[in-house]
Subunit: 229 residues, 2 copies
Amino acid sequence: MAPTPRQLAREHTMREIVRIGRAQLATVGPADLSLRAVARELGVVSSAVYRYVSSRDELLTLLIVDAYDELGDAVDAALADAPDGPRDRLLAAARAVRTWGLRAPSSYALLYGTPVPGYAAPADLTTQPGTRVVLALVGIMVAASEAGGLRPPQREVPNGVRADMERIRAEFGLELPAGALATGFQLWSGLFGLVSFDVFDQWGPGTLTDRDGFFDYQVGLLGDLVGLA
Amino acid sequence: MAPTPRQLAREHTMREIVRIGRAQLATVGPADLSLRAVARELGVVSSAVYRYVSSRDELLTLLIVDAYDELGDAVDAALADAPDGPRDRLLAAARAVRTWGLRAPSSYALLYGTPVPGYAAPADLTTQPGTRVVLALVGIMVAASEAGGLRPPQREVPNGVRADMERIRAEFGLELPAGALATGFQLWSGLFGLVSFDVFDQWGPGTLTDRDGFFDYQVGLLGDLVGLA
DNA sequence: AGATTGCAAGAGCAGTGCTCACTTTTGTGT
DNA sequence: ACACAAAAGTGAGCACTGCTCTTGCAATCT
Protein backbone atom coordinates (compact mmCIF):
# COMPACT_ATOMS: atom_id res chain seq x y z
CA MET A 1 0.00 0.00 0.00
CA ALA A 2 1.24 3.43 -0.94
CA PRO A 3 2.15 5.70 1.95
CA THR A 4 -0.52 8.24 2.65
CA PRO A 5 0.32 11.93 2.46
CA ARG A 6 0.02 12.08 6.20
CA GLN A 7 2.65 9.43 6.68
CA LEU A 8 4.90 11.26 4.26
CA ALA A 9 4.44 14.51 6.09
CA ARG A 10 5.12 12.80 9.36
CA GLU A 11 8.31 11.21 8.13
CA HIS A 12 9.44 14.47 6.70
CA THR A 13 8.83 16.25 9.99
CA MET A 14 10.68 13.48 11.80
CA ARG A 15 13.70 13.93 9.56
CA GLU A 16 13.49 17.66 10.04
CA ILE A 17 13.54 17.24 13.81
CA VAL A 18 16.60 15.02 13.67
CA ARG A 19 18.28 17.39 11.24
CA ILE A 20 17.60 20.39 13.45
CA GLY A 21 18.66 18.46 16.52
CA ARG A 22 21.93 17.57 14.90
CA ALA A 23 22.44 21.18 13.90
CA GLN A 24 21.82 22.26 17.48
CA LEU A 25 24.35 19.71 18.65
CA ALA A 26 26.92 21.36 16.45
CA THR A 27 26.73 24.45 18.60
CA VAL A 28 25.63 23.58 22.11
CA GLY A 29 26.56 20.16 23.42
CA PRO A 30 24.30 17.29 24.42
CA ALA A 31 23.29 18.53 27.86
CA ASP A 32 22.02 21.83 26.50
CA LEU A 33 20.02 20.42 23.67
CA SER A 34 16.63 22.05 23.93
CA LEU A 35 13.38 20.69 22.61
CA ARG A 36 11.92 24.16 22.66
CA ALA A 37 14.74 25.42 20.49
CA VAL A 38 14.10 22.63 18.04
CA ALA A 39 10.43 23.59 18.02
CA ARG A 40 11.27 27.22 17.34
CA GLU A 41 13.56 26.27 14.49
CA LEU A 42 10.85 24.01 13.16
CA GLY A 43 8.48 26.97 13.24
CA VAL A 44 6.07 25.36 15.59
CA VAL A 45 4.97 25.76 19.17
CA SER A 46 6.93 23.80 21.72
CA SER A 47 4.25 21.36 22.71
CA ALA A 48 3.73 20.31 19.10
CA VAL A 49 6.99 18.44 18.83
CA TYR A 50 5.76 16.07 21.50
CA ARG A 51 3.50 14.64 18.81
CA TYR A 52 6.66 13.32 17.19
CA VAL A 53 9.04 12.76 20.04
CA SER A 54 7.76 11.74 23.40
CA SER A 55 10.54 13.34 25.39
CA ARG A 56 13.89 14.99 25.18
CA ASP A 57 15.51 11.66 25.92
CA GLU A 58 13.84 10.11 22.94
CA LEU A 59 15.22 12.84 20.73
CA LEU A 60 18.63 12.12 22.16
CA THR A 61 18.18 8.47 21.33
CA LEU A 62 17.34 9.37 17.75
CA LEU A 63 20.42 11.54 17.57
CA ILE A 64 22.56 8.79 19.05
CA VAL A 65 21.45 6.35 16.39
CA ASP A 66 21.98 9.02 13.76
CA ALA A 67 25.48 9.68 15.04
CA TYR A 68 26.39 6.00 15.15
CA ASP A 69 25.26 5.70 11.56
CA GLU A 70 27.29 8.68 10.51
CA LEU A 71 30.39 7.43 12.27
CA GLY A 72 29.93 3.93 10.88
CA ASP A 73 29.53 5.34 7.40
CA ALA A 74 32.64 7.45 7.79
CA VAL A 75 34.70 4.45 8.82
CA ASP A 76 33.30 2.25 6.08
CA ALA A 77 33.99 4.91 3.49
CA ALA A 78 37.53 5.31 4.71
CA LEU A 79 38.08 1.57 4.56
CA ALA A 80 36.64 1.36 1.09
CA ASP A 81 39.29 3.79 -0.12
CA ALA A 82 42.13 2.33 1.91
CA PRO A 83 44.91 0.16 0.50
CA ASP A 84 45.15 -3.51 1.34
CA GLY A 85 47.69 -3.74 4.14
CA PRO A 86 46.23 -4.17 7.63
CA ARG A 87 48.31 -1.34 9.02
CA ASP A 88 47.12 1.05 6.36
CA ARG A 89 43.57 -0.05 6.92
CA LEU A 90 43.83 0.39 10.66
CA LEU A 91 45.27 3.84 10.23
CA ALA A 92 42.55 4.78 7.77
CA ALA A 93 39.79 3.61 10.10
CA ALA A 94 41.36 5.28 13.12
CA ARG A 95 41.81 8.56 11.28
CA ALA A 96 38.21 8.43 10.16
CA VAL A 97 37.03 8.08 13.74
CA ARG A 98 39.23 10.92 14.90
CA THR A 99 38.31 13.21 12.04
CA TRP A 100 34.63 12.64 12.61
CA GLY A 101 35.02 13.23 16.32
CA LEU A 102 36.93 16.46 15.86
CA ARG A 103 34.43 17.66 13.31
CA ALA A 104 31.38 16.90 15.44
CA PRO A 105 32.51 16.93 19.06
CA SER A 106 29.02 17.06 20.50
CA SER A 107 27.85 14.12 18.49
CA TYR A 108 30.97 12.27 19.50
CA ALA A 109 30.29 13.17 23.10
CA LEU A 110 26.80 11.79 22.72
CA LEU A 111 28.29 8.40 21.91
CA TYR A 112 31.49 8.24 23.90
CA GLY A 113 31.21 10.93 26.52
CA THR A 114 29.23 11.08 29.70
CA PRO A 115 25.96 9.27 29.28
CA VAL A 116 23.06 11.65 29.70
CA PRO A 117 22.13 11.78 33.37
CA GLY A 118 19.83 9.09 34.60
CA TYR A 119 19.02 7.97 31.12
CA ALA A 120 20.16 4.69 29.67
CA ALA A 121 19.91 4.61 25.91
CA PRO A 122 17.60 1.79 24.94
CA ALA A 123 20.00 -1.02 24.20
CA ASP A 124 17.95 -2.49 21.37
CA LEU A 125 18.25 0.68 19.37
CA THR A 126 21.79 1.74 20.08
CA THR A 127 23.81 -1.40 20.61
CA GLN A 128 23.65 -2.68 17.09
CA PRO A 129 24.77 0.50 15.31
CA GLY A 130 27.33 0.96 18.07
CA THR A 131 29.13 -2.21 17.07
CA ARG A 132 29.88 -1.19 13.53
CA VAL A 133 33.21 0.43 14.29
CA VAL A 134 34.50 -2.32 16.52
CA LEU A 135 33.45 -4.90 13.96
CA ALA A 136 35.39 -2.99 11.35
CA LEU A 137 38.43 -3.00 13.59
CA VAL A 138 38.13 -6.69 14.31
CA GLY A 139 37.54 -7.26 10.62
CA ILE A 140 40.97 -5.82 9.92
CA MET A 141 42.44 -8.22 12.41
CA VAL A 142 40.59 -11.18 10.92
CA ALA A 143 41.83 -10.31 7.46
CA ALA A 144 45.36 -9.99 8.76
CA SER A 145 45.04 -13.28 10.57
CA GLU A 146 43.86 -15.09 7.48
CA ALA A 147 46.74 -13.64 5.52
CA GLY A 148 49.11 -14.90 8.19
CA GLY A 149 49.97 -11.35 9.27
CA LEU A 150 48.85 -11.47 12.85
CA ARG A 151 51.34 -12.31 15.54
CA PRO A 152 49.54 -14.17 18.33
CA PRO A 153 49.72 -12.32 21.64
CA GLN A 154 52.21 -13.58 24.19
CA ARG A 155 50.16 -12.95 27.26
CA GLU A 156 48.10 -15.85 28.49
CA VAL A 157 44.37 -15.25 28.62
CA PRO A 158 42.81 -16.08 32.00
CA ASN A 159 39.91 -18.52 32.00
CA GLY A 160 37.12 -16.10 32.79
CA VAL A 161 38.16 -13.79 30.00
CA ARG A 162 38.74 -16.70 27.66
CA ALA A 163 35.18 -17.91 28.22
CA ASP A 164 33.79 -14.49 27.34
CA MET A 165 35.96 -14.29 24.25
CA GLU A 166 34.92 -17.73 23.04
CA ARG A 167 31.29 -16.83 23.45
CA ILE A 168 31.69 -13.57 21.57
CA ARG A 169 33.69 -15.30 18.87
CA ALA A 170 30.84 -17.77 18.37
CA GLU A 171 28.19 -15.08 18.52
CA PHE A 172 29.72 -12.99 15.77
CA GLY A 173 31.28 -15.85 13.87
CA LEU A 174 34.78 -14.44 14.11
CA GLU A 175 37.69 -16.52 12.89
CA LEU A 176 40.01 -15.27 15.55
CA PRO A 177 41.70 -16.98 18.49
CA ALA A 178 40.55 -15.87 21.92
CA GLY A 179 43.82 -14.15 22.69
CA ALA A 180 43.71 -12.08 19.54
CA LEU A 181 40.10 -11.17 20.15
CA ALA A 182 41.00 -9.98 23.63
CA THR A 183 43.62 -7.67 22.19
CA GLY A 184 40.96 -6.50 19.78
CA PHE A 185 39.07 -5.10 22.75
CA GLN A 186 42.16 -3.21 23.71
CA LEU A 187 42.35 -1.85 20.20
CA TRP A 188 38.76 -0.72 20.58
CA SER A 189 39.01 1.05 23.91
CA GLY A 190 42.52 2.22 23.13
CA LEU A 191 41.43 3.90 19.93
CA PHE A 192 38.49 5.62 21.57
CA GLY A 193 40.64 6.54 24.53
CA LEU A 194 42.98 8.31 22.14
CA VAL A 195 40.21 10.04 20.23
CA SER A 196 38.42 11.05 23.41
CA PHE A 197 41.56 12.59 24.83
CA ASP A 198 41.95 14.47 21.58
CA VAL A 199 38.34 15.58 21.14
CA PHE A 200 37.89 16.52 24.78
CA ASP A 201 41.29 18.14 25.02
CA GLN A 202 42.45 15.95 27.81
CA TRP A 203 46.13 16.12 27.01
CA GLY A 204 47.07 19.24 28.88
CA PRO A 205 47.11 22.57 27.04
CA GLY A 206 50.17 22.92 24.87
CA THR A 207 51.37 19.45 25.68
CA LEU A 208 51.31 18.31 22.09
CA THR A 209 52.08 20.43 19.10
CA ASP A 210 51.99 17.73 16.45
CA ARG A 211 48.70 16.12 17.29
CA ASP A 212 48.17 14.54 13.90
CA GLY A 213 51.56 12.89 13.94
CA PHE A 214 51.11 11.92 17.54
CA PHE A 215 47.81 10.22 16.78
CA ASP A 216 49.21 8.27 13.85
CA TYR A 217 52.12 7.17 15.98
CA GLN A 218 49.87 6.00 18.79
CA VAL A 219 47.69 4.09 16.35
CA GLY A 220 50.87 2.42 15.17
CA LEU A 221 51.54 1.37 18.74
CA LEU A 222 48.05 -0.08 18.95
CA GLY A 223 48.80 -1.99 15.77
CA ASP A 224 51.89 -3.39 17.45
CA LEU A 225 49.84 -4.32 20.48
CA VAL A 226 47.40 -6.43 18.53
CA GLY A 227 50.27 -7.95 16.56
CA LEU A 228 49.75 -6.59 13.07
CA ALA A 229 52.58 -7.36 10.71
CA MET B 1 47.60 37.20 61.67
CA ALA B 2 45.03 34.85 63.08
CA PRO B 3 42.08 34.13 60.82
CA THR B 4 39.05 36.10 61.80
CA PRO B 5 35.86 34.24 62.75
CA ARG B 6 34.33 35.46 59.56
CA GLN B 7 37.04 33.90 57.46
CA LEU B 8 36.58 30.68 59.37
CA ALA B 9 32.86 30.73 58.77
CA ARG B 10 33.41 31.45 55.13
CA GLU B 11 35.83 28.60 54.72
CA HIS B 12 33.47 26.32 56.51
CA THR B 13 30.60 27.30 54.26
CA MET B 14 32.83 26.84 51.25
CA ARG B 15 33.67 23.32 52.34
CA GLU B 16 30.01 22.64 52.99
CA ILE B 17 29.11 23.74 49.49
CA VAL B 18 31.70 21.46 47.97
CA ARG B 19 30.61 18.61 50.22
CA ILE B 20 26.96 19.05 49.27
CA GLY B 21 27.86 19.40 45.61
CA ARG B 22 29.82 16.19 45.74
CA ALA B 23 26.88 14.48 47.44
CA GLN B 24 24.57 15.73 44.72
CA LEU B 25 26.93 14.41 42.10
CA ALA B 26 26.59 10.98 43.64
CA THR B 27 22.96 10.94 42.61
CA VAL B 28 22.39 13.13 39.60
CA GLY B 29 25.25 13.50 37.16
CA PRO B 30 27.18 16.65 36.27
CA ALA B 31 24.70 18.19 33.86
CA ASP B 32 21.89 18.09 36.41
CA LEU B 33 23.84 19.56 39.25
CA SER B 34 21.69 22.35 40.63
CA LEU B 35 22.86 25.36 42.52
CA ARG B 36 19.39 25.81 43.93
CA ALA B 37 19.44 22.30 45.29
CA VAL B 38 22.78 22.97 46.94
CA ALA B 39 21.29 26.11 48.47
CA ARG B 40 18.30 24.19 49.81
CA GLU B 41 20.54 21.57 51.33
CA LEU B 42 22.63 24.31 52.83
CA GLY B 43 19.47 25.75 54.36
CA VAL B 44 19.77 29.05 52.60
CA VAL B 45 17.96 30.89 49.87
CA SER B 46 19.21 30.26 46.37
CA SER B 47 20.71 33.65 45.70
CA ALA B 48 22.82 33.45 48.85
CA VAL B 49 25.20 30.87 47.49
CA TYR B 50 26.28 33.37 44.88
CA ARG B 51 28.15 35.09 47.69
CA TYR B 52 30.44 32.08 47.71
CA VAL B 53 30.36 30.78 44.19
CA SER B 54 29.94 33.13 41.29
CA SER B 55 28.26 30.68 38.99
CA ARG B 56 27.34 27.08 38.51
CA ASP B 57 30.43 26.66 36.38
CA GLU B 58 32.62 27.81 39.21
CA LEU B 59 31.07 25.22 41.46
CA LEU B 60 31.82 22.63 38.82
CA THR B 61 35.41 23.80 38.74
CA LEU B 62 35.65 23.38 42.50
CA LEU B 63 34.22 19.91 42.19
CA ILE B 64 36.63 19.05 39.39
CA VAL B 65 39.59 20.02 41.52
CA ASP B 66 38.11 18.10 44.44
CA ALA B 67 37.65 15.03 42.26
CA TYR B 68 41.17 15.22 40.89
CA ASP B 69 42.47 15.37 44.41
CA GLU B 70 40.42 12.41 45.48
CA LEU B 71 41.50 10.37 42.50
CA GLY B 72 45.12 11.34 42.98
CA ASP B 73 44.94 10.40 46.64
CA ALA B 74 43.37 7.06 45.78
CA VAL B 75 46.16 6.25 43.34
CA ASP B 76 48.87 7.40 45.71
CA ALA B 77 47.42 5.34 48.52
CA ALA B 78 47.24 2.28 46.31
CA LEU B 79 50.84 2.76 45.24
CA ALA B 80 51.97 3.19 48.83
CA ASP B 81 50.57 -0.23 49.66
CA ALA B 82 51.71 -1.91 46.47
CA PRO B 83 54.70 -4.27 46.20
CA ASP B 84 57.84 -3.28 44.40
CA GLY B 85 57.54 -4.81 40.95
CA PRO B 86 56.49 -2.40 38.20
CA ARG B 87 53.77 -4.72 36.97
CA ASP B 88 52.25 -4.97 40.43
CA ARG B 89 52.47 -1.25 40.84
CA LEU B 90 50.86 -0.58 37.49
CA LEU B 91 48.05 -2.97 38.32
CA ALA B 92 47.54 -1.37 41.71
CA ALA B 93 47.36 2.12 40.24
CA ALA B 94 45.08 1.02 37.43
CA ARG B 95 42.74 -0.75 39.80
CA ALA B 96 42.61 2.31 42.02
CA VAL B 97 41.52 4.46 39.10
CA ARG B 98 38.88 1.96 38.06
CA THR B 99 37.56 1.43 41.56
CA TRP B 100 37.28 5.14 42.16
CA GLY B 101 35.52 5.62 38.84
CA LEU B 102 33.03 2.87 39.47
CA ARG B 103 32.34 4.17 42.94
CA ALA B 104 31.81 7.77 41.85
CA PRO B 105 30.76 7.69 38.20
CA SER B 106 29.54 11.26 38.12
CA SER B 107 32.76 12.58 39.56
CA TYR B 108 34.66 10.47 37.08
CA ALA B 109 32.47 11.84 34.31
CA LEU B 110 33.31 15.32 35.46
CA LEU B 111 36.98 14.65 34.78
CA TYR B 112 36.99 12.27 31.84
CA GLY B 113 33.56 12.51 30.30
CA THR B 114 32.01 15.17 28.16
CA PRO B 115 33.28 18.58 29.18
CA VAL B 116 30.44 20.75 30.36
CA PRO B 117 29.01 22.57 27.35
CA GLY B 118 30.67 25.80 26.42
CA TYR B 119 32.71 25.84 29.54
CA ALA B 120 36.43 25.24 29.60
CA ALA B 121 37.71 24.48 33.06
CA PRO B 122 40.29 27.12 33.95
CA ALA B 123 43.53 25.44 33.07
CA ASP B 124 45.51 26.96 35.90
CA LEU B 125 43.27 25.31 38.45
CA THR B 126 42.67 21.95 36.89
CA THR B 127 45.74 21.07 34.89
CA GLN B 128 48.09 20.62 37.79
CA PRO B 129 45.93 18.23 39.84
CA GLY B 130 45.00 16.49 36.63
CA THR B 131 48.58 15.43 36.02
CA ARG B 132 48.96 13.49 39.24
CA VAL B 133 47.77 10.19 37.85
CA VAL B 134 49.76 10.35 34.67
CA LEU B 135 52.84 11.33 36.63
CA ALA B 136 52.30 8.32 38.84
CA LEU B 137 52.07 6.11 35.77
CA VAL B 138 55.18 7.58 34.23
CA GLY B 139 56.86 7.28 37.61
CA ILE B 140 56.34 3.55 37.46
CA MET B 141 57.97 3.50 34.06
CA VAL B 142 60.90 5.60 35.25
CA ALA B 143 61.48 3.29 38.19
CA ALA B 144 61.35 0.28 35.91
CA SER B 145 63.72 1.96 33.50
CA GLU B 146 66.24 2.70 36.20
CA ALA B 147 66.04 -0.88 37.39
CA GLY B 148 66.71 -2.01 33.82
CA GLY B 149 63.25 -3.46 33.51
CA LEU B 150 61.93 -1.43 30.63
CA ARG B 151 62.23 -2.77 27.13
CA PRO B 152 62.74 0.13 24.73
CA PRO B 153 59.89 0.38 22.20
CA GLN B 154 60.59 -0.92 18.70
CA ARG B 155 58.61 1.64 16.81
CA GLU B 156 60.51 4.63 15.62
CA VAL B 157 59.30 7.97 16.94
CA PRO B 158 58.66 10.53 14.19
CA ASN B 159 60.38 13.87 14.50
CA GLY B 160 57.42 16.01 15.43
CA VAL B 161 56.42 13.67 18.19
CA ARG B 162 60.00 13.31 19.34
CA ALA B 163 60.33 17.05 19.72
CA ASP B 164 57.23 17.19 21.89
CA MET B 165 58.47 14.31 23.99
CA GLU B 166 61.87 15.87 24.53
CA ARG B 167 60.28 19.10 25.63
CA ILE B 168 57.97 17.34 28.06
CA ARG B 169 60.85 15.23 29.36
CA ALA B 170 62.76 18.38 30.12
CA GLU B 171 59.79 20.18 31.62
CA PHE B 172 59.05 17.44 34.09
CA GLY B 173 62.61 16.25 34.53
CA LEU B 174 61.83 12.71 33.49
CA GLU B 175 64.64 10.26 33.05
CA LEU B 176 63.00 8.49 30.19
CA PRO B 177 63.90 8.21 26.50
CA ALA B 178 61.49 9.88 24.12
CA GLY B 179 60.20 6.59 22.76
CA ALA B 180 59.35 5.29 26.20
CA LEU B 181 57.66 8.55 27.11
CA ALA B 182 55.54 8.33 23.99
CA THR B 183 54.36 4.89 25.00
CA GLY B 184 53.61 6.38 28.39
CA PHE B 185 51.00 8.55 26.74
CA GLN B 186 49.45 5.42 25.33
CA LEU B 187 49.42 3.96 28.79
CA TRP B 188 47.64 7.06 29.98
CA SER B 189 44.92 7.26 27.38
CA GLY B 190 44.68 3.49 27.20
CA LEU B 191 44.03 3.19 30.91
CA PHE B 192 41.38 5.89 30.88
CA GLY B 193 39.89 4.43 27.74
CA LEU B 194 39.47 1.16 29.57
CA VAL B 195 38.06 2.73 32.69
CA SER B 196 35.72 4.98 30.71
CA PHE B 197 34.35 2.05 28.78
CA ASP B 198 33.78 0.30 32.08
CA VAL B 199 32.30 3.22 34.00
CA PHE B 200 30.11 4.36 31.13
CA ASP B 201 29.09 0.82 30.19
CA GLN B 202 30.39 1.10 26.69
CA TRP B 203 31.14 -2.55 26.20
CA GLY B 204 27.76 -3.79 25.04
CA PRO B 205 25.34 -5.21 27.58
CA GLY B 206 26.26 -8.73 28.58
CA THR B 207 29.41 -8.68 26.51
CA LEU B 208 31.68 -9.27 29.47
CA THR B 209 30.87 -11.37 32.47
CA ASP B 210 34.26 -11.27 34.17
CA ARG B 211 34.88 -7.56 34.09
CA ASP B 212 37.41 -7.55 36.91
CA GLY B 213 39.49 -10.24 35.28
CA PHE B 214 39.11 -8.56 31.92
CA PHE B 215 40.36 -5.29 33.27
CA ASP B 216 43.39 -6.85 34.90
CA TYR B 217 44.19 -8.66 31.69
CA GLN B 218 43.94 -5.51 29.62
CA VAL B 219 46.16 -3.64 32.03
CA GLY B 220 48.63 -6.44 31.58
CA LEU B 221 48.52 -5.80 27.85
CA LEU B 222 49.19 -2.14 28.45
CA GLY B 223 52.17 -3.17 30.55
CA ASP B 224 53.42 -5.18 27.60
CA LEU B 225 52.89 -2.22 25.32
CA VAL B 226 55.11 0.08 27.35
CA GLY B 227 57.65 -2.69 27.74
CA LEU B 228 57.51 -3.51 31.43
CA ALA B 229 59.48 -6.58 32.39
C1' DA C 1 -21.59 14.48 4.11
C1' DG C 2 -20.41 13.06 8.65
C1' DA C 3 -17.48 10.94 11.97
C1' DT C 4 -12.86 10.11 13.26
C1' DT C 5 -8.35 10.78 13.61
C1' DG C 6 -4.11 13.56 13.74
C1' DC C 7 -1.96 18.02 14.31
C1' DA C 8 -1.05 22.34 16.25
C1' DA C 9 -1.96 26.07 19.61
C1' DG C 10 -1.73 28.16 24.02
C1' DA C 11 -1.97 28.26 28.80
C1' DG C 12 0.15 26.56 32.76
C1' DC C 13 3.23 23.99 36.30
C1' DA C 14 7.50 23.21 38.35
C1' DG C 15 12.00 23.68 37.95
C1' DT C 16 16.57 26.06 36.51
C1' DG C 17 20.59 30.00 36.52
C1' DC C 18 21.25 34.42 37.68
C1' DT C 19 20.51 39.64 39.08
C1' DC C 20 19.21 43.23 41.97
C1' DA C 21 17.48 46.07 45.68
C1' DC C 22 16.93 45.42 50.25
C1' DT C 23 17.50 43.99 55.32
C1' DT C 24 20.02 41.78 58.86
C1' DT C 25 24.02 40.29 61.04
C1' DT C 26 28.70 40.80 62.44
C1' DG C 27 33.37 42.60 63.25
C1' DT C 28 35.95 46.41 64.11
C1' DG C 29 37.92 51.29 64.76
C1' DT C 30 37.18 55.29 67.28
C1' DA D 1 30.45 51.35 74.20
C1' DC D 2 28.81 52.76 70.14
C1' DA D 3 28.54 53.86 65.36
C1' DC D 4 29.64 52.41 60.86
C1' DA D 5 30.97 49.66 57.11
C1' DA D 6 31.51 45.27 55.23
C1' DA D 7 29.68 40.82 54.67
C1' DA D 8 25.79 37.57 54.58
C1' DG D 9 21.24 36.52 53.75
C1' DT D 10 16.43 37.63 51.77
C1' DG D 11 12.84 37.65 48.33
C1' DA D 12 11.12 39.22 44.16
C1' DG D 13 11.77 38.79 39.41
C1' DC D 14 13.49 37.62 34.45
C1' DA D 15 14.22 34.38 30.99
C1' DC D 16 14.65 29.89 30.13
C1' DT D 17 13.78 24.67 30.39
C1' DG D 18 10.80 19.95 30.02
C1' DC D 19 6.36 18.47 30.01
C1' DT D 20 0.99 18.21 30.43
C1' DC D 21 -3.57 19.33 29.31
C1' DT D 22 -7.44 21.34 27.09
C1' DT D 23 -9.11 23.36 23.08
C1' DG D 24 -9.77 24.35 18.09
C1' DC D 25 -8.91 23.13 13.45
C1' DA D 26 -8.10 20.41 9.35
C1' DA D 27 -7.36 16.38 6.75
C1' DT D 28 -8.71 11.72 6.10
C1' DC D 29 -11.68 7.62 6.07
C1' DT D 30 -16.30 5.48 5.93
